[in-house]
């Protein structure tokens, strides 16, 4: 019985270690909309960021507005959770999710 508990605890620790080993992405390493949103929050709006914002708004209206009215914008880390939840719940595509997150966090 005890060995089973040890095994369970071991599995939990391994899971935690696996998650810990997944390194956080650098915010400036790629040009995808999710990472650009961080820099545009404090920097001057570039035309590229403006295009991403416009595309994000378009995808928000196409995906999210099908079910509910537009909510006000939540803080970025809350929005990241909500968008992940909606990605699963409403089967939003990965690309749509990134654009919507960029739009909703600007």
């Amino acid at each position: 019985m005890k060995s089973k508990f040890m095994l369970l605890a071991g599995i939990l620790m391994l899971t935690a270690a696996a998650i810990a080993a997944d390194p956080p992405k650098s915010s400036n390493s790629t040009a995808d909309p999710a990472t650009i949103s961080t820099t545009t929050a404090s920097a001057e709006r570039t035309s590229e960021a403006e295009n991403i914002r416009a595309e994000g708004e378009k995808r928000f209206r196409a995906n999210c507005s099908r079910c509910h009215a537009a909510p006000h914008k939540f803080p970025p880390r809350m929005m990241a959770t909500i968008v992940r939840h909606m990605r699963v719940r409403a089967t939003i595509t990965d690309a749509d999710m990134r654009y919507i997150l960029a739009y909703m966090t600007q």
Binding site: S27, R84, A90, T91
Partner: protein
């Protein structure tokens, strides 16, 4: 000294708690280590609360409800989701005296999601059965346009205990595909009841015209081993603030459809501040009783006991973000006819359970 059976059980449980706490601390520290970026998701408590007064067949019912949703993201790929529902139904006995009733307590879903890649998400636990679009996407009271759920809502829906694969991806710039395939086991555990089922749903979304079409299938793997299927359609025209949705479902208990249109008065030129917050809703629906339907089963699932038509009309006023006042009128047209009135408010809340990051 010999340990009794009871003492050894207690020791085992202590070990379990100890190792679970160590594991959780390790897991928490690993997650904190990842949260250096301002965009890392944090756990949040969201959901909705509402208070509605319903008048059905001349009987007034008070229906307060609160539905908390807990979202706990872990790392880049995991999400734990849980939704509980506390729904009160209070009525006067024989039309007078104090209101009495019960508060129903349910666990709608308690699931863990692993986002494998842009095409596949694996879900395990208790989840909302993906049949049609109403159950998963339109059910929360702050989202639904009319407070009364459609007559066919119980067909094929509810919650399931098992595993599911789901996802959505772009086929080409003009079309997205979304899907869900699941298996559910039979369970009679309190609050985790489910049937043994297998099924799936496929939908196509066309972002240009903003049209979604899809179909659902479900096979019961117990008792009568019956099949159920359904279709859904949704359209948001580009030029008009109109939201059209429809579903059809058929199972051995019955069949039926609903068609709903919601028009937001955004384009009206008078009383603009009030009109842009106002929405008019109309819905037509029908239910047809199955040929070999057991009446106890109909009661269990909340289905009508005969063929019914019901037109509904409603008004929604969006006071501010997440707060909505609603009123609706419907006419039940069955073997007997009566009015169905609803009036109330719904509020959606969202609370962070961690640092939210800079805006």
């Amino acid at each position: 000294m010999k340990y009794s059976w009871f003492e050894s059980e207690v020791c085992s449980k202590r070990h379990t708690v100890f190792f679970a706490l160590i594991s959780l601390l390790f897991l928490a520290s690993s997650l904190v280590a990842q949260t250096s970026n301002d965009e890392r998701p944090i756990p949040i408590l969201t959901g909705n609360a509402g208070y509605f007064t319903n008048v059905d067949r001349g009987q007034t019912e008070l229906a307060p409800e609160i539905t908390p949703v807990l979202l706990v993201p872990m790392g880049d790929h995991w999400l734990v989701e849980a939704r509980a529902a506390f729904e009160g139904e209070f009525e006067r006995e024989n039309g007078n005296g104090p209101y009495k009733g019960v508060v129903g307590k349910d666990i709608d879903y308690l699931q863990i999601d692993y986002i494998v890649n842009p095409y596949v998400t694996v879900t395990a636990g208790r989840f909302l059965t993906p049949f049609g679009i109403y159950n998963e996407r339109l059910y929360p009271i702050w989202i639904r346009e009319l407070h009364e759920v459609p007559l066919i809502f119980p067909l094929g829906t509810g919650s399931s205990d098992g595993a599911m694969l789901r996802g959505g991806f772009t086929i080409n710039p003009k079309a997205n595909l979304n899907y869900a395939a699941y298996f559910s086991t039979n369970s009679s555990v309190n609050k985790f009841e489910s049937d043994r089922l297998a099924g799936g749903r496929v939908g196509f979304f066309f972002p240009g015209p903003r049209i979604e079409v899809g179909g659902s299938f479900q096979k019961e793997l117990q008792e009568d081993r019956t099949n159920a299927f359904g279709f859904h359609f949704a359209w948001q025209p580009m030029r008009v603030p109109l939201n059209l949705r429809s579903e059809y479902a058929r199972s051995h208990d019955g069949s039926g459809y609903w068609v709903e249109g919601a028009y937001r008065f955004n384009q009206v030129s008078f009383w603009r501040p009030a009109m842009r917050r106002t929405e008019f809703v109309a819905r037509m629906q029908q239910f047809f009783l199955g040929e070999e339907t057991d009446s106890s089963e109909l009661s269990e699932y909340g289905l009508p006991h005969g063929n019914v038509r019901q037109p509904d009309f409603g008004l929604n006023f969006y006071v501010r973000d997440g707060l909505k006042a609603s009123a609706s009128y419907g006419r039940w047209l069955g073997t007997r006819n009566w009015n169905v009135w609803t009036m109330g408010i719904a509020y959606r809340f969202a609370l962070p359970l961690g640092p939210t990051g800079a805006r």
